[in-house]
């Protein structure tokens, strides 16, 4: 592999607001988080210890589908040093089932924190054993006797609705967990106007996730006097966890205190640990000691937060001869796994990006989500939008392929244009800003598009098939949770929010608390940059508390770090709180300095009279006066120097009937280009060159933004090539650890160039857009590149999002099998 360079090669296309003398925003301010992390002094959840804590080990189901006929924990409990156990029966007596988001039949699921009566996936927790040491808990778990009566499992979502398919949830009576039809525009007219109809029988987006290096975990303490739990954990969405856990545990949400500090990656996969957290809470109360839970890698792969696996069947695309896309219809079949944990929200979240980046107006998507005997699906980086955007990109490339058009030209012809922004999509979402064609040009330039043919010939001389592919994608951020009502009109959620507090302490310390739960996104640093800009002080004077504690600022309903939104919601809350604080400082300054507020400015860590810098009140003095020396201040001063702000984006409740409305506030975008070289004798291939161009509006810390783009790229490359959760017919997971589930390592990385443009969002306090998830552009690009490479060898269609070597070989050997998936009808 040759050298990597990361060079922003295009001047930022910035929408200027104001440009004061020195701005922290826009600078690569070194991260505050780094020192403790490079010293090995970070505090991750497994680092948290308590005297007398009991270590919990979960006994997990070896069967994909079975009745539990008996559970006997007596032998385990007899072992010295074993503190106790918990079974599903106990859980059912102490808690109510978790709230279900779905309508019937999914609404009828009875989901408890441990399996009750039945197991529905290999690895499902059945019994919890707590002991003095980790090893002892593990040993004792082998003495727990669980008798099972195996049932036929179902592991292929396409069979879940067959007459003879085993039913996972008797209470639901069906494996269909949710279904809905989305239709906008006039499909009949579009298909009548089309010159060609491109039919694609089947496309498959595979099951994988982001496998954060740190797995889930918790250290839970119970206060017997106040009946309150302190949950040290790395759950990345405490707002959601609290809403799920409180009602189940029959306690008020204030009894659940979530504390996080350093989290070793989340990527969405640490949102649905609430069942295990409930187990820990119940055990902490039952056994009267702190409970420590470490999830091991295999546990995580078997049971936690697999990404949506989605089939797209019977796709039909209406297109003009020149490549203008008019519309499409498709049937999306989503595999939710054994339980709905956050699902079926994936059934609507894709609609944030219904048309992808393209201008077609006539769209129908029939969405069916089914249960199978596999791990429950929960958010994974790019959640539900990535699957849909992959689908739109496959459509673009397949249509181009079949009509013998250049995929670049088809994109340019159909991309939503910069002058159409803000752009309302067929279902009422508003893309705030962007210039996709410009990004594509940057990507083409960086990848050396004009020299591709020569590269192709050079590769051929070395016996390789070269292919180049484009992958474009959107990263929609800041959800309107009202979209959940399109899943279930009864749900009482809408809008979004995030909280922050900023205070000036007695000795002038500026202290910020966030509602978020960062897992490496650098919130402590970017928040400090925003605060320092508003207060005109140094970032070094701003202390942002690490992590999340629901007792600091009483989280808003949606507090957490997920769904590409911190730069909007988190920083919006920080800005709001700091604006309030700045106002209060000026108000106090006005009283002390004897000048009207308009005559004052904040500068160099003081409030002072403009033009008379000696007439200044340092922040330290402000803090001292309000906190400890406040006699003589006016009665109605109303200054506390402790400001709390909840940022609330402007949303309406969507029209549930028409499934219409704005579902996300911002739309970051990425355009990637990949070059692959395939060994035609083996199907093995390398990604030999790669470009990622992004646009997330105003960049508060460019280095942090680039880091997110690179990380998303690397994960997408892994998913595109090798990462899959593969099940056999009996429901056994064949990739339960890093030995078989191959993630990219250092030698796997292609050379990378990056570029960017900045299209500020008109809708956000700072012009920023949430970013971080990325949208899986690497998967789209690699699929496109492989299909391009195979053009000269039978023109196979890439129909699956994961293309390990064996699949490429199959496409080389039998291109006709994939070609059978596509048909072009002339009108």
């Amino acid at each position: 592999m040759s050298t990597t360079t990361t060079t922003p090669t295009i001047a930022p296309d910035v929408v200027e607001t104001e440009a004061p003398a020195k701005q922290w925003s826009g600078q690569n301010v070194p991260r505050k988080e780094d020192k403790r992390l490079v010293q090995g002094q970070g505090v991750f959840v497994d680092d948290v210890k308590r005297h007398g804590m009991g270590f919990v080990h979960f006994v997990r189901s070896p069967f994909a589908h079975a009745h539990i006929t008996s559970i006997d924990v007596s032998k385990a409990e007899e072992i010295g040093g074993v503190y106790g156990t918990l079974t599903g029966e106990e859980v059912a007596s102490l808690t109510d089932p978790f709230f279900q988001l779905s309508t019937p039949p999914g609404a009828h699921l009875e989901d408890y924190a441990l399996a009750l009566g039945k197991v529905r996936f290999v690895g499902e927790p059945v019994v919890a054993v707590v002991a003095e040491t980790r090893e002892l808990a593990r040993d004792a778990s082998e003495l727990v006797e669980v008798e099972y009566e195996p049932l036929d499992p179902i592991s292929d979502a396409r069979r879940a609705q067959d007459g003879q398919a085993p039913i996972l949830h008797e209470a639901a009576g069906s494996n269909v967990m949710w279904e809905g039809v989305y239709e906008w525009g006039d499909l009949d007219a579009a298909f009548a106007e089309a010159d060609r109809i491109v039919k694609i029988k089947e496309l498959h987006f595979h099951r994988f996730n982001s496998t954060p290096l740190e797995c889930d975990g918790a250290l839970v303490e119970y206060n017997r006097g106040t009946a309150q739990w302190t949950i040290h954990t790395n759950n990345q969405f405490p707002g959601f966890a609290a809403i799920m856990m409180g009602p189940a545990m029959r306690c008020g949400l204030d009894k659940l205190r979530f504390v996080t500090q350093d989290i070793g990656g989340g990527f969405g996969n640490k949102i649905t640990s609430h069942p295990q957290l409930v187990v820990c809470c119940l055990l902490a109360r039952k056994l009267r000691r702190p409970i420590q839970w470490t999830e091991w890698r295999t546990d995580f792969h078997l049971s936690m937060s697999h990404g949506n696996e989605r089939w797209f069947h019977d796709t039909e695309v209406a297109v003009k001869a020149d490549g203008t896309l008019l519309g499409f219809r498709t049937k999306a079949l989503d595999d939710a796994g054994a339980w709905l944990r956050y699902e079926p929200l994936g059934g609507v979240i894709w609609a944030q990006v219904t048309p992808g980046m393209y201008r077609w107006r006539h769209i129908r998507l029939d969405f069916t989500q089914v249960a199978t005997n596999k791990a429950p699906v929960s958010p994974n980086r790019g959640y539900s939008r990535m699957q849909h955007l992959w689908f739109t990109e496959r459509v673009i490339d397949i249509v181009a392929h079949e009509l013998d058009l250049d995929p670049v030209e088809v994109r340019k012809r159909n991309y939503i244009r910069a002058d159409e922004m803000p752009y309302e999509t067929p279902n009422g979402c508003v893309y705030d800003s962007g210039d996709y064609a410009k990004m594509l040009d940057v990507a083409l330039d960086l990848i050396g598009w004009s020299g591709i043919d020569e590269r192709r010939r050079d590769a051929e001389a070395r016996g390789k098939l070269l292919g180049v592919g484009i992958g474009s994608t959107l990263d929609s951020g800041t959800n309107n949770f009202g979209q959940s009502r399109m899943i279930n009109p009864e749900l009482q959620f809408s809008g979004n929010n995030e909280v922050a507090t900023v205070k000036l302490d007695i000795f002038g310390e500026i202290v910020v608390t966030l509602g978020t739960t960062p897992q490496g996104q650098g919130h402590e640093t970017t928040a400090a940059q925003v605060v320092a800009d508003i207060l005109s002080c140094s970032v070094d004077d701003v202390h942002v508390r690490a992590g999340h504690d629901s007792y600091w600022n009483s989280h808003a309903g949606f507090s957490g770090t997920y769904a590409s939104q911190f730069a909007v919601t988190g920083l919006g809350a920080v800005k709001g709180a700091t604006d309030l604080l700045a106002g209060e400082i000026k108000k106090l300054g006005s009283v002390i300095l004897g000048a009207p507020e308009e005559a004052l400015e904040l500068a160099e860590g003081t409030v002072r009279i403009k033009g008379t810098p000696e007439a200044a009140l340092p922040f330290m003095a402000c803090g001292a006066i309000i906190n400890a020396n406040n006699a003589g201040l006016p009665e109605d001063l109303g200054v506390t120097l402790n400001c709390r702000y909840v940022y609330r984006p402007q949303f309406e409740v969507p029209d549930v009937e028409r499934k219409f409305g704005n579902l996300t506030l911002t739309y970051a975008a990425q355009v990637h280009a990949a070059v692959v070289e395939i060994d035609p004798e083996t199907g093995a291939y390398d990604v030999v060159d790669y470009v990622a161009v992004d646009d997330c509006g105003k960049r508060i810390n460019p280095q942090i933004v680039e880091g997110q783009v690179m990380g998303a790229t690397a994960q997408a490359l892994g998913a595109a090539t090798h990462e899959q959760f593969v099940y056999d017919e009996d429901g056994n997971l064949l990739t339960p650890n890093f030995y078989d589930y191959h993630v990219p390592h250092a030698l796997d990385m292609p050379p990378l160039q990056t570029g960017y443009i900045e299209s500020a969002s008109p809708f956000t306090p700072l012009g920023t857009k949430g970013m971080g998830e990325g949208g899986g552009a690497g998967i789209h690009a690699v699929c496109a590149a492989i299909q391009d490479a195979l053009r000269s060898r039978g023109g196979a269609i890439v129909w699956d999002s994961c293309n390990p070597y064996h699949r490429v070989w199959e496409m080389l050997e039998h291109p006709e099998r994939t070609r059978e998936l596509v048909e072009v009808v002339e009108r």
Binding site: Q39, V43, G711, A746
Partner: protein
């Protein structure tokens, strides 16, 4: 009877020096070195990211050799001198390598970072001016899910020009 080297016993007394401090502890033979370091000695800088020896988050230097401490038993470290991330720097100051990681944004969540630093430290001791290919090869046993590795390569290159590895 005290277990000698040549008797089979389920536990034994071990003496281990870590970052210059010597510890004497009784440990079960089955205890992994990484658990001994983290749980018994409260040196939580070394991390666990997998259960098959693939991820490298547990990497430490044992008697000058870079190893994954999840595939060693604590009893095997009897008499050994071990370096972990907590001992990379002499005091609270950062080494050039640690500073380079921060400057180049070669860490995001920080979970793989201690292992990366140990592997990079071992590399730079043996090879003070590595090529990028050599850096990749040296870090092949350390998985990162956040950064994509590119910034990590740059950070190691930066550190290679100076002392303090």
């Amino acid at each position: 009877m005290e277990p000698t080297a040549a008797t089979v016993s389920p536990a034994r007394q071990i003496t281990v020096t870590i970052n210059g401090t010597t510890y004497e502890r009784e440990v079960e033979a089955r205890k992994l070195l990484i658990h001994f370091i983290r749980d018994d000695l409260d040196l939580t800088g070394s991390h666990i990211g997998c259960d098959t020896g693939n991820c490298g988050a547990c990497s430490v230097i044992v008697d000058g050799t870079l190893l994954k401490s999840c595939m060693l038993l604590a009893v095997q470290a009897d008499g050994a001198s071990i370096e972990t991330v907590e001992g990379i720097a002499d005091d609270d100051e950062l080494t050039k390598l640690q500073q380079s990681f921060s400057d180049r944004h070669a860490l995001q969540c920080g979970y793989c970072t201690p292992g990366m630093l140990m592997s990079a430290t071992a590399l730079l001791r043996a090879n003070p001016q590595p090529t990028e290919e050599e850096i990749r090869k040296a870090l092949q046993g350390n998985i990162c899910r956040c950064t994509g590795y590119w910034n990590i390569f740059e950070a190691v290159k930066d550190a290679a020009d100076g002392a303090g590895a």
